[in-house]
């Protein structure tokens, strides 16, 4: 059990670190999928099977693929010569290390964290379904509304602007209609 835990930990954290530090963006997205898979394995390990498979479906199947699409759509002119990290990266790294240190300190000094697993923690599909239809029916409806709004909003935000007023790009400011393929380079 512990061996499994450590294998999944190494997989997840290595995937996350690689996703944050590789240069090639598509490699970052694929490493992110590995980290998500490790998290799904954690959920399966923790007896939350439904959440584990939802994680695989939603994150690996949808979010990672969506990120790959966004990377391919915004594949820009600037790729090789620029530095990878922002100019203020020591500050960001320091803040992250500070957060990690304080979290670990809080975990180590708390008494809640030492307790053992509950013997019969099971989240069956039946329980989840009945809870969704009784206690959590209002959040369920709200999240349906939110997802619809996000869908429409994402389409509207990413929609091509009408070509009459969409020439603030510096490069083809003079050229008449914007070509309909957005990722065309200058």
């Amino acid at each position: 059990m512990e061996v499994v835990f450590f294998i999944i930990t190494v997989l997840t954290l290595a995937g996350a670190i690689a996703a944050m530090s590789l240069r090639h963006l598509v490699h970052c997205a694929l490493c992110l999928a590995v980290a998500f898979g490790g998290l799904a394995a954690f959920y399966l390990q923790l007896n939350a099977q439904f959440i584990g498979f939802a994680q695989i479906l939603v994150y690996i199947g949808a979010v990672a693929v969506l990120i790959v699409f966004a990377i391919l759509l915004t594949r820009g002119i600037e790729s090789a010569p620029q530095p990878l990290f922002s100019s203020a990266w020591p500050v960001g790294l320091g803040v992250a290390l500070l957060v990690f240190g304080s979290l670990v300190f809080a975990i180590q000094s708390s008494s809640v964290a030492q307790q053992q697993a509950a013997p019969s923690a099971q989240a069956t599909i039946r329980t989840i379904g009945s809870q969704l239809m009784t206690n959590f029916v209002l959040p369920l409806e709200l999240i349906a509304l939110l997802l619809t709004a996000a869908l429409i909003g994402a389409v509207i935000i990413a929609m091509q602007e009408p070509s009459a007023k969409s020439t603030p790009m510096k490069d083809h400011a003079a050229s008449a209609p914007i070509p309909s393929v957005p990722e065309e380079q200058r």
Partner: protein, 126 residues
């Protein structure tokens, strides 16, 4: 149960299924992993110059919070109320919506500025 140690523990446990009692990992292991994942995501979101990678960092932080919810639910004395699981379920849904809107924003910004470099996108006016 396919795992041999768990199966042996299951055979040894005489009464109702406290299968995982003797072999399970303590809770603070999960909490430390979650904190590490959060810190990695935070570092990436703060230091990378690409907007998409910053969004990936935010996703990692959300997932770290989800792992905490599931771990606390699993180790809570009242696990029959599946509150942690439900929270993570809704959190996954909201994260999916957030990713969709965030990536749409990045694509719109890219179309406008021809870059996704966060250091160059510094004004909200076109």
């Amino acid at each position: 149960m396919p795992h041999p140690r768990r199966f042996r523990a299951f055979l040894k446990s005489n009464d109702r299924g406290d299968i995982t009692d003797m072999t399970s990992v303590p809770l603070h292991y999960y909490l430390v992993v979650s904190a590490a994942l959060f810190a990695i995501g935070l570092a990436g979101a703060l230091t990378r110059r690409n907007a998409i990678i910053a969004l990936i960092g935010i996703e990692l932080m959300l997932n770290a919070a989800n792992l905490n919810f599931i771990a606390f639910w699993r180790y809570s004395p009242k696990a029959e109320a599946v509150t942690g699981v439900m929270f993570v379920l809704f959190s996954i849904g909201i994260a999916a919506a957030e990713a969709a809107v965030g990536l749409a924003l990045i694509i719109a910004i890219y179309r406008h500025y021809r870059t996704t470099n966060l250091d160059e996108i510094s004004s909200m006016k076109g």
